[in-house]
Symmetry: C3
Subunit: 398 residues, 3 copies
């Protein structure tokens, strides 16, 4: 998934910032891989009520797994009861937390300072995300209420989206993005095929995310259930894409490839909250509404003069909210409980992230200078260019 996010974001930003996006995404994978190992996973699954005193921090195989590995075959039954091994579960969850951080990277592209972003990621992946995770997948109060979020529309995508929104508010828009008269200067993606590749990788990765969220593959019933999940995932992506392309053609009179790629992602996000149904047709409206919300959300953000570098907030937050609601409508969730979940996660993640961004801003700048923005983050922060040998158009105004 990280590879997908990196290519999508790197292709979507301007050439002068394409390397830093790569560094940010490899960096967030490395950081979350370590912080989720040191702290996050234990916080998320160690105890649903978060008694810090209880924590054994470092993640590792369970007691019975250790017995099994050291040759005690009588431990097999106990290990089997868990249905998957602790550390394969850890790895799977780590991929989710890294995805959540990638959303923030995309929204704040082209202006966030590298080190302030990394500091934010450390806190997001070791504390903020695990708290949301503990409430839900970790068996906490939302889970006890019956909140359903199969593969992360709220836990992963809204969490990342709220954190990104907070960052966008604190950082402000890129220079030259909004004109005084309210009109918007679009920043064209520097490498369209690369962005498309990123979307494909995400699409494929989502099969693993949603299919794998079944968390078991040990018999015929699991195989059937998982195949239904993956088909629903695919249908929602298809309909999200088709909805976005149709909407952009009909309403805005322009077939917009980048918006359509976001529409497919939005369809995937929307279906993730509850892809485990066998009447596949339902996946089509879920995805199509997701795609529609994404296109509309992009316009809404522009109206609010909130600058989202790659359109991650509509695709992940808005569509994630819709997907979580949709479970309450069509796949067996309680609508009120779903809304409670959506609102509590927002009420926790958004203000905490806001405070965190402000706090980071007190210590080090959260944003690069106007001049650095003009010259590009690649040159200023890394001293390199993404495509040093290609003659790049100089943007006279910017």
């Amino acid at each position: 998934m990280s590879a997908g996010f990196t290519m999508l974001e790197s292709g979507s930003v301007r050439a002068r910032n394409a390397s830093v996006i790569c560094l940010k995404n490899v960096g967030l994978l490395a950081i979350s891989g370590i912080s989720f190992y040191l702290v996050g996973y234990t916080l998320m699954y160690g105890s649903a009520q978060i008694h810090v005193g209880d924590l054994r921090f470092l993640s590792g195989p369970s007691e019975v797994e250790r017995s099994l590995l050291s040759g005690d075959e009588s431990a097999i039954a106990a290990v089997l009861e868990n249905e998957n091994s602790t550390m394969s579960h850890w790895l799977f969850q780590m991929a989710f937390v890294a995805s959540s951080a990638s959303i923030v990277s995309g929204t704040l592209a082209e202006r966030v300072r590298l080190w302030s972003f990394f500091v934010f990621v450390v806190v997001l992946t070791s504390l903020i995300y695990p708290v949301v995770g503990a409430w839900t997948w970790g068996g906490g109060w939302l889970d006890e209420m019956g909140f359903k979020d199969f593969a992360g529309s709220t836990v992963v995508h809204s969490t990342g989206g709220w954190a990104a929104l907070a960052g966008a508010v604190v950082l402000g828009a890129r220079r030259g993005k909004f004109n005084q008269n309210g009109s918007v200067n679009q920043t064209p993606p520097s490498n369209v095929p690369l962005a498309t590749l990123g979307m494909f990788i995400l699409w494929m990765g989502w099969f693993a995310f949603n299919g794998g969220s079944h968390l078991r593959l040990s018999g015929v019933i699991d195989a059937v259930a998982m195949s239904n999940i993956v088909v629903n995932t695919n249908l929602a992506a298809c309909s999200g894409f088709v909805a976005a392309i149709a909407l952009s053609r009909l309403v805005f009179h322009r077939v917009d490839l980048m918006v359509s790629l976001s529409g497919a992602i939005a369809g995937l996000v929307a279906v993730s909250a509850g892809p485990d149904f066998s009447g596949h047709f339902w996946a089509i409206p879920v995805g199509a509404v997701g795609g529609t919300i994404c296109v509309m959300g992009l316009k809404l953000l522009e109206k609010c003069r909130i600058d989202d570098g790659v359109g991650a907030i509509p695709a992940h937050l808005f569509s994630g909210v819709w997907g979580t609601i949709a479970v309450g409508i069509g796949s067996g969730g309680d609508l009120l409980v779903q809304l409670t979940g959506i609102l509590s996660v927002g009420a926790f993640v958004f203000p905490v992230s806001l405070l965190l961004w402000l706090a980071i801003g007190q210590v080090i700048n959260v944003r690069i200078s106007m001049d650095a923005e003009r010259r590009g983050k690649d040159l200023v922060e890394l001293g390199i260019q993404a495509y040093p040998e290609f003659l790049v158009l100089q943007d006279p105004e910017q």
Copy 2:
């Protein structure tokens, strides 16, 4: 596979058309994902003799699978008899039908009108391909005759190739491709590493296509059989590549990377009709002849003044025909039956596709204008550029 085709095609066309190719390929994945769900799969597998009255259109889990999912454990035995779940089979077949449509996309690159292509894909994936599929994998008359096509040399690749050839005939060549005196102006690929990446993705994806076509993985004999299939697939790709590179060096005195990539694809296509043998050496001539036919086929098409944007017809159609014949020679098929299959598929797909392209042309143009071609499809159809910041060479003549 779609990601592979997209990158291969996007890297192979000129920069001014690289975005539309991306849109076309994501679009065909979305369209075929929906049309194959709504109609195609049921047509292909619902009844071998195609009684339209019988069709329950929407695809979905089988009765016994639904029972199992709703908790009826006595259904396990009946589900197990099918050896794979209905919807995982659906997903697998959907990847094939999308590949078939990708071949058409490649051949008609740089001149086909976006919407006419999408209309063609709707019909191809919901009707034309499923009819061929019903005759063969769906248990129809070719299957009853004993026609062997393990993983689609004819069903997938020739079908796509015939449809592409029909399109190439109707649309004509790109402007400036052929000179009055019969000589050919090559159009250099805009992004060679991207095209190479696409080929790698296809190569890997083929392991899943051919290995997965075994359709079972439930015991030791399946594991052994599948490993043989994948090794044969790999050997044929290797020998297809080596044959193409040697041929281009010896005959044309130039090591031609793009042709060699096509040669590897041709090797993969050739072995797909029957990769299930355990005397691996046979994979080497199958692949090498495929690679050779591909190189020769490229020249043949040029001689016929048929313009194939990325060389998809030689790699998929010509090599697919060879691979289907090869099963009759070396891996247990009946040569006469194989030829019958090849000819019937061609006799059905080519004229139907030809009529369809002509019919589409009556309603909307199938081809963009000369001026649009000069300026590039990206700018004309999408209003964007694939690489907007890179200074791109202006082609004075074109």
Copy 3:
């Protein structure tokens, strides 16, 4: 893995050599796929003591597997004893040998002659690598001594690294790389996002390499063991990246993306010798030291005026040596035996490769001409450009 190496190398070299790198890597995959089938695998596993007389060259399923495939169900027990099928083992080993050859491709980038490289690869993959493999994984004398190399820190990465070092010594540095006064002219990577994508593909592929090196997946204990291996692999990559980025920031006062990507690779290489432990914390120092050694090694090579095109020698050879030693320190290997293995492999591979490069140089040039280097290998050896439509900066001095 080959796709990963290709993208990493193609993005790391200058634009004028980016196509040949693609050709070299597809070519080495094709060549090693054939030579390892014809000779290499049998040499490696056919007999530990290498009696050439014994060899039945062509690889293929075992006797009992052939019986099983032809319907003899009594062969199941015998096949099961091997724990994996012969040809899936073959395929897995083939991916390793191709990786080893990719290392050589990276180091010698931008100056090695295409055909001399291919000749070297034939010998490397059919003779040199299989001999090292026979000593170790094939059950030879190093294996009997108790030498531990779980997934190839020495067998794969050091072997490739020694061969690359020999080539770098024979070929000499690229023109303009080193100045008379000892200072170094860096050659900027032509496509940073592509190189990053390559690193991601390698990172993911490594999960399969190290996880798959468990060589069994047939029960709960295997699943637990494999999950531990993959988590260790991930942690080492994370810490290798973080170490490299921190070191480049603190010591060289510049966040260096390309060096950090090498650091992640170095972490992966380091942990490969022994990733099968369950106290995951140990993976962090193993990876971090790997990343550190890689950064330091880059400087050391420059001091020695050895030109390594993409920094493959520090990441694979130096870090591979460290990883093999680390098994002797922290995961159950005997330090003396580990050192014996490291030294014997070096004492065999380096001089043999050196002689081979010199011998090839006697017959055909191993290196392109200075003028060809200036114009770029793509134009000279292939007659194409990787990005023909982008205006590329002319390097006045070079």
